[in-house]
Symmetry: C2
C-alpha cells in the first residue's frame, strides 16, 4: 500500500447519515422527502489562496469553512462533503493537523466526509459541500425558483440590508502579516483569528429562511457580495458609512479607540481620509465569511429573532433601492463617496481564498 | 470584469433539470422521490495525470469521462456535475476546445454543469459528478446497504466475472507515445482513441442494476479493480488468460494477427513470455474505463440482455471463489502465473488519471 493509500485511510471515517461513504466508486446520499440538495465547490491553491506555510490545522478549518459559508448563504443545513487533495508529498506531519482542523469543523456542523481523491501535485484543496433545504418556499416574494433556499435574487426596493458579525478584520490581519500596517500584538491576534479561523454563519442562514428576501456570503468583501445581490435582484442600495465602520472590530478594540486607530493605522497607508483604510477593509477586504442579506421592514422583529436564535449579531446597514448602483451615505442620506474616492491601496497579489 | 470572470461565463449554461444552476452561492438539485444521489470526485493534475500538451478537446472529454465511469460502476444515471479549474493563465485558445470536449460529453449523457470555481494556479481539474439510483434494492443478496446501486461488495463465490468492451489499448497507446513500443500507425491511432477519448459505460451500468452482484470501473487496471471487488466482497477469483488476452483490441487488429503482435511488440520490451506485454496491458494497464462485474450463473441471460440493451459487448472472464487471491488460469483451471511471473516493465512515471 502506497503513501497515498495510507492518506486516504486517514480520511476514511464513519458516515452515519450517508447511505454509503468512502470506499466504493461513488458515495450515496439520500434526501429526506421534500428536501433539495444545495451544492457548492471551492478550489484553494497553495501560495495563491493561502500562504504556503499556513498552519495546517487552521488551513483544514478554513477550507471547509469557506464551503460551509456558501451553504449558510443559502440557508442550507450541512450534510456532507467530498475532499480532493493534491499534495507535493505525502507528509503526515502536515496531514495530521490538516485533517484535525478539517474534521473538527466538519463534526461541529454534522457534515460528513463521504468521498474524495488524493493525488501528488502542487498543493491544491478542492471541497464540494452538500446541504439540504426544504423545496417548498415559505417566502411569497420569490415565485421563480421553487425552493425555500435563500438566493441572491429576491430582494425588493425598500428592503433593509443587514450583515452578520464583524467585517474587515481578516483583511486587516492580512495587511499586517504582509508588513503593510503595524498592529499592536493583541489587536493582530484577534484579527488574525478572523483571517485563519472564520466562523461560517450556518445557524443564522437557516434561521433566516422565510425571513430574508435575498442573501449572499461575504467572501470577496461587502461591496462585491452585496453587489451580487443587487445584480441578481435588479436593484441598487444605499449603505450608511456610520453603520458599517463600527463593524471593523480591530478599530473598536484598538488601544485608545476608533480615533486612535484612524490616526495611527489609517495614516500608515497614506489614505486621503483617516477612515479610508477602515472603510476599505470593511467594504472590500474579503475573507469575512459573514452573511449579507435583505429583508422587508416588516420582518425587523423576525430578523432579530433569527439573530438571537442563532446567537449571531446582525447589523442593519442600509436600504435596497430601485435605482441601480451602490451608494455610500451618511446618516442623513447624503452621498459620502467623494471623501473615500481613492483608497485602493491593496495589492492584488495577496493570497485570498476568493481571489481567482 | 476579469479574465476569470469571463471564463466563468464560458461555463454558465442552462440547467433545465437542476432547480438552480451556476450563479448563486449554491446550486440546487432535487431528487425524485425514492431516489438516492450517487456522488464521485476526481482530481486530475497537469503533467501527472495527463501530458501538459494533451489536446484540450480530448482532455475536456476525458476529465468528465473518468467521473461518469464512476457513476456507471454504481449503475447511476448521470444528472449533473461541478467543475473546479485551476489554470496557469486565462487562455481562451485552450479553454474553448476544453469546454467543447467537456460539454459535448456532458450533453450526450444529459449531465448538467451546475456549479464550479475557476482560479489561477498550476493546471488542475477537479470534477464532482452527481447521478441517481433508486433507493430500493432489487437485489436480494445485499441487505446491508439499502440501495439498488451496484457496489464493490455483494459478489458471491461461484458468481461469474465479466468485463465490458476492450482492455489494455489505452495503456499500450501510452507506451507507444512514450516511445517504448513501436506500433503501426493505424494500430496506434485506434489505441490512442481509447487513451484519449474513453467511453464511460453509463448505459451498461444502469442496465446491470438488479443483475450484477458487484461492480467497479476499470481505471487502474483489471487486476487492481477486480481486486477492489474481491476485497470488499471477501472473496478470491480465477481469471482465464485465454479469455482476457483477446480483450486487447490492438493485438487482434495487428497486421498479421495476434501471433505477429506477440512476436513483434511483446518482444520489444524483452518480456519473458511473448504474451506478457499483452497480459500486462490487459491486467494492469489502467485508463480503460470499462466495467468489471460479477453476476450469479443464473443471470447469464440477463447479463446478455443488459449488454444488448446498452449496445455494449461484455465478456465472461472467470469465476468468484471463496479462497482469497486472484489466480490466472488456463482453460482447464490450471495456474499459469509462473509463465507471467515477471512482466513489470512499466514505469510509474507515466501520466495516468488514476495514479496518485
Amino acid at each position: 500500500m502506497g503513501e497515498f493509500d495510507l492518506i486516504r485511510r486517514f480520511f476514511t471515517r464513519p458516515t452515519p447519515h450517508a447511505v454509503l461513504g468512502v470506499g466504493d466508486d461513488c458515495a450515496l446520499l439520500q434526501s429526506a422527502p421534500g428536501m433539495q440538495m444545495a451544492i457548492s465547490t471551492d478550489m484553494l491553491v497553495g501560495g495563491r489562496h493561502f500562504f504556503a506555510d499556513t498552519d495546517p490545522l487552521a488551513l483544514g478549518h478554513k477550507c471547509l469553512a469557506v464551503n460551509l459559508s456558501d451553504l449558510a448563504a443559502c440557508g442550507a443545513r450541512p450534510l456532507a462533503f467530498t475532499l480532493a487533495l493534491a499534495l507535493p508529498e505525502a507528509d503526515e506531519a502536515w496531514l495530521a493537523p490538516f485533517a484535525q482542523g478539517l474534521l473538527a469543523l466538519a463534526d461541529a456542523h454534522g457534515c460528513e466526509l463521504i468521498g474524495g481523491d488524493t493525488t501528488r501535485g502542487p498543493l491544491n484543496i478542492c471541497i464540494t459541500v452538500f446541504g439540504e433545504v426544504p423545496a417548498q418556499s415559505h417566502h411569497a416574494r420569490r415565485p421563480l425558483v421553487p425552493t425555500s433556499a435563500l438566493l441572491r435574487s429576491g430582494a425588493q426596493a425598500g428592503d433593509d440590508i443587514y450583515v452578520s458579525g464583524t467585517l474587515g478584520d481578516a483583511a486587516l490581519a492580512l495587511q499586517a502579516l504582509l508588513g503593510r500596517v503595524a498592529l499592536p500584538p493583541e489587536v493582530l491576534a484577534q484579527a488574525r483569528q478572523r483571517l485563519e479561523r472564520p466562523s461560517p454563519r450556518v445557524a443564522l442562514g437557516q434561521a433566516l429562511r422565510g425571513v430574508a428576501s435575498a442573501c449572499a456570503d461575504v467572501s470577496d468583501g461587502l461591496a462585491g457580495d452585496l453587489g451580487h445581490i443587487l445584480e441578481r435582484s435588479g436593484l441598487g442600495a444605499e449603505v450608511e458609512v456610520d453603520r458599517v465602520l463600527p463593524l471593523l472590530a480591530a478599530r473598536r478594540y484598538y488601544p485608545g479607540g476608533e480615533a486612535q486607530f484612524d490616526q495611527q493605522i489609517g495614516a500608515t497607508l497614506k489614505a486621503q481620509h483617516p477612515q479610508a483604510l477602515a472603510l476599505q477593509c470593511v467594504l472590500a477586504g474579503g475573507d469575512d465569511y459573514e452573511l449579507v442579506f435583505s429583508a422587508a421592514p416588516a420582518e425587523r422583529a423576525a430578523v432579530q429573532q433569527a439573530a438571537a436564535q442563532s446567537a449571531t449579531p446582525v447589523t442593519r446597514i442600509g436600504t435596497m433601492q430601485a435605482s441601480p448602483g451602490l451608494r455610500l451615505v451618511d446618516g442623513l442620506g447624503r452621498s459620502v463617496a467623494p471623501q473615500f474616492a481613492s483608497f485602493d491601496h491593496f495589492s492584488a497579489a495577496q493570497p485570498s481564498p476568493h481571489r481567482p
